[in-house]
């Protein structure tokens, strides 16, 4: 077996040193009633070539985003990733290191995480950020738990524009943790009155912008309404590229900002691994979940970095920890950080404008298609389209015609009676020809 360096002779010598004749003697503590090394009805070892063949066949049965005009978003986005990013994240020292438990020989990881925290804080307009969570949805749930600890209240109000998966994750964890959730009805046109839901028992209000239907939301007055009642405003996003062009939640009074960072540096990969972002105020430092990296000096006075404030975390605080998270998304954070360093402020703003321009162009073209209606007054790179038939069938038909057109709302909200809506995302990878193909396929499927 190509991954196992021990030879039969090595094994025999090692057994002799240990003093056992058979390696299975080392399993003597396994109760006798258990079958040891049971014969499993599973295939035997395969060569590298055979594994490639087998998995290659599976991969070829899928339609990748790069092989079709592609307009699917709703929480994960197709963007171009510079070749440098993927090369660098495959450096042995990044890819095959563990959590930085020994800072003297993990400065590479610790410094890039410190840079990542700074970039996330800057982007969101917040004071501090942590070293990542699993993904946007779990970051969102952790933010609610964090707000409950800060306010000592246990009720979260969810906007009807929050991604339904995020709302479901919150509902699931709240149910078991014994916390209360008030979820507003799906809010396709961003017209809900969330402020009316805030009373003195509310811990936090969770609002997404751009929301799942693509609408941009001004959070300034809502944050004031929250703060008047002692509640926190949690702002969520699923498309981090939007922050290159729109006012960040931190400038609108958000207390905790969470989001999905996949768009920068990370491939679609059928849903994971992705990158949870969490940023907040310095005052809430000790209630923050997850790892935090801080700057310090070494014994020679040289600048260096360490994982800090660990007394919040499960390995020290155990049942009183701020979260149970241990492994997070460091390598995804590295990809994000490299991509963002390459873009820089100028590049990110240009990328964001290209995304917005692409969506604006498609919306303008759709105005000429009879029977369909774009529902958004504002949007970044994603919007919701009403179509005169069931959207799921329409998307299937357009896929048949070679266009991956968007996400039918019924896929996310099967019982909401919104079966005629489809969420359409445009990014910098779409060409004019792609958008023309979209219109043509749409006309064909109506």
């Amino acid at each position: 077996m190509r991954y196992l360096p021990l030879t039969q002779a090595d094994r025999a010598e090692m057994r002799a040193v240990i003093g056992v004749g058979d390696v299975d003697a080392l399993y003597a503590d396994v109760p006798a009633e258990l079958p040891l090394a049971p014969s499993l009805d599973l295939p035997r070892a395969k060569s590298e070539m055979d594994v490639e063949r087998l998995l290659g066949e599976m991969a070829r049965r899928n339609v990748p985003a790069s092989r079709a005009p592609f307009f699917i978003g709703a929480g994960a986005y197709k963007h171009h990733i510079p070749a440098t990013v993927d090369h660098l994240v495959q450096r042995s020292e990044f890819l095959t290191s563990y959590t930085p438990y020994q800072p003297e020989i993990a400065q590479g990881t610790l410094q890039y995480l410190f840079e990542f925290q700074t970039q996330v804080a800057m982007l969101t307009g917040m004071e501090i950020a942590n070293a990542s969570m699993y993904d946007g949805s779990t970051a969102c749930a952790e933010a609610a738990l964090m707000a409950h600890r800060i306010t000592k209240r246990r009720k979260a109000v969810l906007s009807g524009g929050l991604h339904p998966h995020y709302a479901e994750v919150l509902r699931t964890i709240s149910h078991f943790a014994g916390d209360e959730i008030v979820a507003l009805a799906p809010d396709v046109r961003a017209r809900e009155d969330i402020a009316a839901m805030i009373d003195d028992s509310v811990s936090c209000v969770i609002v997404q912008t751009p929301d799942v239907f693509g609408n941009l939301r001004d959070l300034a007055s809502l944050s004031e309404a929250c703060h008047r009642r002692g509640a926190l405003l949690i702002a969520a996003f699923t498309e981090v590229v939007s922050l290159g062009l729109v006012t960040p939640p931190g400038e609108m009074g958000a207390d905790i900002v969470v989001g999905e960072g996949q768009s920068l540096g990370n491939p679609l990969s059928f849903g994971g691994p992705y990158l949870g972002l969490l940023a907040t105020r310095q005052a809430y430092l000790r209630q923050t979940p997850g790892r935090l990296i801080g700057e310090t000096v070494d014994a020679e006075g040289r600048r260096g970095y360490v994982a800090t404030l660990s007394a919040r975390e499960q390995h020290i605080r155990r049942d009183k920890a701020t979260s149970n998270i241990c492994t997070n998304s460091n390598l995804c954070a590295l990809a994000f950080s490299i991509h963002l360093s390459l873009l820089g402020e100028a590049g990110l703003r240009r990328l964001a404008r290209a995304n917005h321009a692409s969506a604006v162009d498609l919306v303008d073209r759709l105005a000429g298609v009879a029977g369909v209606e774009t529902l958004n007054e504002s949007f970044f790179n994603e919007f919701t389209l009403r179509v005169p038939r069931d959207a799921a069938g329409l998307v299937e038909d357009m896929a048949e015609a070679g266009v991956l057109a968007g996400v039918p709302v019924s896929r996310l909200l099967p019982d909401a009676g919104l079966d005629d809506l489809v969420i359409v995302a445009c990014t910098e990878v779409d060409t004019v020809e792609d958008r023309e193909a979209f219109i043509a396929a749409l006309r064909g499927a109506l």
Binding site: S310, A311, I316, K320
Partner: protein, 125 residues
């Protein structure tokens, strides 16, 4: 009654008039190592004996301080927010944590005096 009284959790209590100063012992601070943060209760808070009063964090540990007697928090050592190291340097003096109004003086009798605490430390090895 004067002088320090001690608990088996290595906290001390020093009666000053009808109030009592609460902190951790020199043994406790040495066990914790460099203290980096102290979380103190809000003045006015009432605590029952054995209830959590404060949390002390070092780099590698966190430790709860429980009220050695029942009482009401009169004052906390606000200087620790900027200088938690005072707990290491002078735990019985400048590193005190909380000033309590003792509500049940009888509970004071249940604590160890210095000799008893010394013996307790030795028995703990």
């Amino acid at each position: 009654m004067s002088g320090e009284r001690y608990t088996k959790d290595h906290d001390f209590l020093r009666v000053e008039g009808d109030a009592a100063i609460v902190g951790i012992t020199d043994f406790a601070q040495a066990q914790l190592g460099d203290i980096v943060f102290v979380e103190l209760p809000a003045p006015g808070k009432r605590v029952a004996k054995g209830e959590q009063l404060a949390t002390i964090e070092s780099v590698k540990a966190a430790s709860e301080v429980y009220a050695p007697v029942s009482g009401e928090v009169l004052e906390v050592n606000a200087a620790l927010e900027a200088a938690p190291a005072k707990v290491n340097e002078d735990p019985l003096g400048e590193g005190w944590l909380v000033k309590l109004r003792v509500t049940d003086a009888a509970e004071l009798e249940e604590l160890m005096d210095e000799d008893a605490y010394r013996a307790f430390l030795e028995s703990e090895g």
